[in-house]
Amino acid sequence: MKGNEWRLANGGRIDRTRPLAFEFDGERYWGFAGDTLASALLANGVRIVGRSFKLHRPRGLVGAWCEEPNGIVQLGDGARTTPNLKATQVELRDGLSARSVNCWPNARSDAFAPLQLLGRLMPAGFYYKTFMWPSWHMFEPAIRRAAGLGTAPREPDPDRYEERHEQCDVLVVGGGPAGLAAALAATRAGARVILADDRPALGGALQETKRIDGAAALAWTAAVERELRTAPNARVLTRTTAFGCYDHNLIALSEKLSEPESAGLRERLWHVRAAEVVVAAGAIERPIVFADNDLPGIMLASAAMTYAAQYAVRPGRRAVIVTSGDSAYEAASTLQTAGVEIAAIVDTRAEPGEAASLARSAGIRVMAGYYPVRAHGGRAVKAIEIGQIGAAAGRINEGSARRLECDLLCVSGGWTPSVHLFSQAKGQLRYDPERAALLPGPGPKSFHCAGAAAGNLALHHCLTDGFAAGREAAKAAQATRDAGRSPTTDVELAATTAFWASPQSSHRKAWVDFQNDVTRGDLELAVRENLRSVEHVKRYTTTGMAVDQGKTSNMNALAILAELTGTSIPQVGNTTFRPPYDPVTLGSLAGRHVGAFYHPLRRTPLDRWHAAHGAVLEDFGGWLRPAWYAGERRHRDDCIRAEKRATRTAVSLFDGSPLGKIEVRGPDAAVFLNRMYYNGMKTLAVGRGRYGLMLNEHGIIIDDGVCLRLAEDHFLVSTTSGGAGRIFAGFEEWLQCEWPDLTVLVTNVTSAWGNIAVAGPRARELLERLETDIDLEPDAFPHLSIRCGRLEGVPVRIARVGFTGELSFEINIPAGYTTALWERLLAKGADLGVLPIGIEALQELRTEKGYLHVGTDTDGRSIPADVGMGALLAKKSDDFVGRRSLERSDAKRPDRLQFVGLEAQDPGTVLPVGAHVIADATTRNASQGYVTSSCMSEALGRSVALGLVQAGQARTGEAVHVYSSGRTFPARIVSPRWYDPEGHRLNA
């Protein structure tokens, strides 16, 4: 096979027996199982993997894992396409197809590349300053297109995502040597442990050449993993990023599942409540800021080492290593072993110590006390210009400049511990000048930082540190079994000194944030323009604000700011570490809350009957209810008309099962309900019901319904369908918090009872055809009363209440009998013309009757007086919820919105709901209210509407205009008591 010219003949943790074909920017390549997209691209000699955000400069790989700022790709096509993934984190699989983002047609030859020439013209704040007039919003879309990253899929995501809640004693974040040692100690101590690591395999940055407890490092890792995976009290999660720490030690983990075992499950979002947390998340190497430090071929020393050691890729032919610490010497030796010629190690330290002597004795040239001045090259690095650090700060020694040819420049400006979780848990960071890093300082007791995350880079430190942290954490969680002794290894060198940026370089081309194209020059400009707070500088220059959240750039930016403002890093402070640590997909956050599970719908006992009989089911207040019955494919309006006609002229059935049913009993039941209702309930006779409004303490109507008295100390409160849970909770709240002295029991029995409203002039006739011991005659059973008895042998509660204005019986029957009763009523009433009716018909029936529907014909300001019930206030002497608010001057304002009827001048015009009532048809500038319900009434032979209108009750008869979407309708304010105003039909 061709390709893979840069692949080493041996070594690496790739599976050479499994070649995988893939595509990048339309070209076909191949790699091996175990590769990432990045390592496979490098193995195939692809050096330019993306274009910079603002200026479209060619960019190559800088990192080898989550720190990568440049290799941003869009994966796949269609519904599964995923934008803005880091090529360094994309595991290679057969047939994978990726393309670079922010360039066209591809990263190698980008049509936007000439933008680079404008670099001088586009400093920090360029967009804000330039596109001010007339409005930023005019330019924004075009600018976003030119500077965008990937594109979101247009189709719904076909994959599954799952949520998972879990609790544990010790959560260990990071599966490198420190994390493994911590998990081992905590597990052995008997704690419930979860170990999470974001990579496909455990081991972190462990190099093959190391030995732990006498074994090869990878063999040791495998043994630890085996022990953890077989322990009953430990769980190991790989490909799992701990991306955020939330209140009370809730850690969010995003687990990516590997195909094909995942069977369509793509990611799992873990909510882990951890008693103790060990942060062993490692550290990220820093680039060094100098001119043209973004040329392809310049990468972190640790990344170059990873490509060579783990992926068996030679990242270059001739390398120069620029470093301020010991760790890069290991990279040099690894690269040398991989066949890379090491031109020199440039150490910014004047006296690099033992590491340098070891390198020199291995035949490597070490240039101590030099720093990088500028990189040379166009589409790839060709050479590095260095100079000796002079006596005067910011100067190089005369004549010390050297030029070193290379095609790989490895940089190491020190290490930034990944303390994100610790910081999010409100842990404080302190600057350690010796290690040139922000380290965990005082913080929550339950957080334990270990290894490189705590600033300890050497392996022996990681192991002892991690083990101690794991044991401590377990102990804090009361797991105290003997954990044995810590794993050990040889002591190694890990010294470093601070070196951030070369003083003498063209600052406008010395890149600080690769992903957002922020240079040292931008930071200088920000300071010159007097931005001092690090948070302001961050937002002005956008440094650290890209999708990598400044993993490689933040520390350098802080150090440069400190230098520019003549302060120190602790004085500059640091920006906030906000979750997520690494981007999380929206699919993962949505989990299974999509489609039918977006929000749970409730079903009535008649659900299956409705579905089988043509009901059009819709979501009404969380209940799936028949809007109307479609029957033999008749038009919607025809169906609703027929349902209304049956109710007005014969008899109809309505499934009212969702109506709230709350039982209230006890010696103080009447007193309690009298306080809960606006209307007086103390005087309600046993067996009778009373319509009532319920208010909140602001006097606003929150619900209505009929309160029925079953016995002296026993009431049945009926609430609106959507209100049952809310009103029941309100009852309990008042009883527990305000009136614990009242002896009352409340029970929500809504679902125990089915409810069928039998309404229409022949309703009684229909019920009389069933076997019952209840006297249905009007004298014995008047409107607004309730009777308990048996119907067809089943215990029922029948109430004479309704929402249609017709003779109406609401039958409450144990829910399990609802369907049988419904079918019997239909069968017995077939010759009477009985029809089932849906919500739409009911709404029109109650509209023409002039009944208000709380929440439709009232809004968040409506009080009883606004709906024509103000007079009752004077008749009730007792206190009730909301009473005092009704006495406020605002409640007595004459111009309040009041509930009225509205008639269009043209009886054939149905006024649109939401249309505004205006006084003057020409100016249309002041709304006096709006239409809330509206329909064509066949019973009245004209259209009718309800609305809320300013001072409406005093304006009965007044002509107004109703305005909606450019059309104006002449109308009149009327009393809404259109249908059967005397109530003969209701009381029949």
């Binding site: 209140d247 009370h248 909770a729 709240e733 918090c737 206190d879 608010s885 406020r888």
Partner: protein
């Protein structure tokens, strides 16, 4: 997401609960003796301190009991939770 220890049910996650505002909140009455100012104070004015505050929470998805939580509005640290009927040591508030 807070973890709140319900006096009845033990530690549970925040979505099981409903917040009910600062306590004590004294409902003034009888209504005819309450001034507009006093009523507005009851409806709208809260201390909203920076630091520990006593508030009531409902374990809505559990035992449906209202109870008292002493919570820091700065750190969300919960110092104590007690039943409504229990008296809370002064030191905790």
């Amino acid at each position: 997401m807070l973890q709140i220890t319900c006096p009845c049910c033990g530690p549970r996650d925040e979505p099981e609960f409903r917040w009910g505002g600062e306590v004590p909140l004294v409902r003034p009455g009888p209504p005819e003796q309450v001034s507009d100012e006093a009523w507005a104070e009851y409806l709208f004015t809260r201390d909203n301190p920076k630091g520990f505050v006593r508030e009531r929470w409902l374990h809505a998805l559990g035992c449906r009991q209202w109870f008292v939580v002493v919570r820091s509005t700065v750190t969300h640290e919960i110092r104590a939770t007690t039943r409504l009927t229990d008296t809370l040591p002064e030191a905790l508030t």
